[in-house]
């Protein structure tokens, strides 16, 4: 049996003020890419229909991180010298951190961050003569929000 939730769409029941408010909140969350239970659920549908690929640099970063995190420990006789060497290197790191650039922009990470670039590839047909600018702004902001979250992630494993 087909289950229809609404009782006759053809005669759409007028929305209650509360429903209008909820619909508006959903619309805003969808457009702004903000957290909202229903917006999150709707967005998750895209990942069922056509999940985007994992960006290669993110994959390489995750592999790199996992390999280093799970590195085997040194042999016992090297532990003492290893600790001493680590302390020495840490001294160097302290000097870097106290006077050097922000570690989150260190080249090794920065090199993998998503760069600014033309938005032309987001559009596949000439723009309408009138109107549509707001939709283009939405599209650009939405696309770059994704890149921005990726960059946050790459910078420090921050939960986007």
């Amino acid at each position: 049996m087909t289950v229809y939730d609404d009782k006759g769409w053809e005669e759409l029941t007028p929305p209650t003020p509360q429903e209008v408010e909820q619909a508006q909140a959903l619309r805003e969350a969808l457009e702004a890419g903000e957290d909202h239970p229903d917006a999150d659920l709707l967005r998750s549908l895209r990942f069922l229909e056509n999940p985007p690929p994992l960006e290669p640099r993110v994959n390489e970063w995750l592999v790199h991180r996992a390999l280093h995190k799970m590195a085997p420990s040194h042999r016992g006789r090297w532990v003492a010298s290893g600790v001493a060497a680590a302390l020495a290197l840490a001294a160097g790191v302290v000097v870097v951190l106290s006077t050097g650039p922000d570690p989150t922009t260190a080249p090794v990470v920065r090199a993998s961050l998503v760069s600014c670039r033309s938005t032309q590839s987001l559009f596949h047909e000439p723009f309408d003569r009138h109107g549509g600018t707001s939709s283009r702004m939405d599209r650009i902001a939405r696309d770059r929000a994704r890149d921005y979250r990726t960059n946050l992630f790459l910078r420090g494993g921050v939960q986007p």
């Binding site: 702004a32 003492a80 010298s81 001493a84 060497a85 302390l87 020495a88 290197l89 840490a90 001294a91 160097g92 790191v93 302290v94 000097v95 870097v96 106290s98 006077t99 050097g100 650039p101 922009t105 080249p107 920065r110 090199a111 961050l113 998503v114 760069s115 600014c116 670039r117 033309s118 938005t119 032309q120 559009f123 596949h124 047909e125 000439p126 723009f127 003569r129 009138h130 600018t133 707001s134 283009r136 702004m137 939405d138 650009i140 902001a141 770059r144 929000a145 890149d147 921005y148 960059n151």
Partner: protein
């Protein structure tokens, strides 16, 4: 032997630290391209909000107020090294030009187009759209001048409109061709 090794590593560690901390201000080659960051997102958010606000104002017939809102976006002159910022500004200028054209502000609308063309990437929909908007405004101008009895002015505006539309079509065609060939290459 071990003591010597530790000393050596300690020294190297310190030297490395000092060397890095005294790096020159010259950016590394990998830092040359700006990345998608908070500043860019803030700008995009501002532009998005301004355009939606302008939509509402336009819908209620308040074109001057819409122009004022969009002017605040285009007065932003920083971060011009970011492609997204240049394109958003170019698109906003095209819209401003359209709105000013509706008000008969011919010189101002043409100034928007010129500014937009400096920002839009060559051979893009953004550039094509700006030329199209120039055509629209020249067409409006021709009509207005004809109504005022300025036949010669109207004729000149009409010619400029045709040139602008032709240029727009030419650019859009080249973008479409490029798109199709890219798709073909992907197959």
């Amino acid at each position: 032997m071990t003591t010597k090794l530790i000393r050596l590593v300690f020294l190297l560690g310190l030297l490395w630290g000092m060397g890095c901390s005294q790096r020159s201000d010259t950016p590394c080659v990998c830092e040359a391209t700006p990345v998608v960051d908070t500043a860019l997102m803030a700008f995009l958010s501002k532009a998005k909000a301004a355009h939606h606000q302008a939509d509402l104002l336009e819908q209620s017939g308040q074109v001057d107020a819409a122009i004022e809102v969009l002017d605040k976006v285009t007065s932003f002159t920083q971060m011009s090294d970011r492609a997204e910022v240049r394109e958003v500004l170019a698109d906003t200028l095209a819209r401003l030009s359209d709105l000013r054209g509706q008000r008969g502000q011919w010189e101002e609308s043409e100034a928007d187009i010129r500014k937009g063309l400096e920002l839009a990437p060559s051979g893009s929909y953004f550039e094509g759209h700006l030329y199209e908007m120039r055509g629209v405004n020249e067409e409006r101008r021709a009509k207005a001048q004809a109504e005022q009895g300025d036949a010669e002015g109207a004729q000149t505006a009409r010619r400029r409109a045709i040139e602008a539309f032709e240029r727009a079509i030419q650019i859009q065609d080249s973008v479409i061709r490029r798109e199709l060939s890219d798709e073909g290459a992907d197959r």
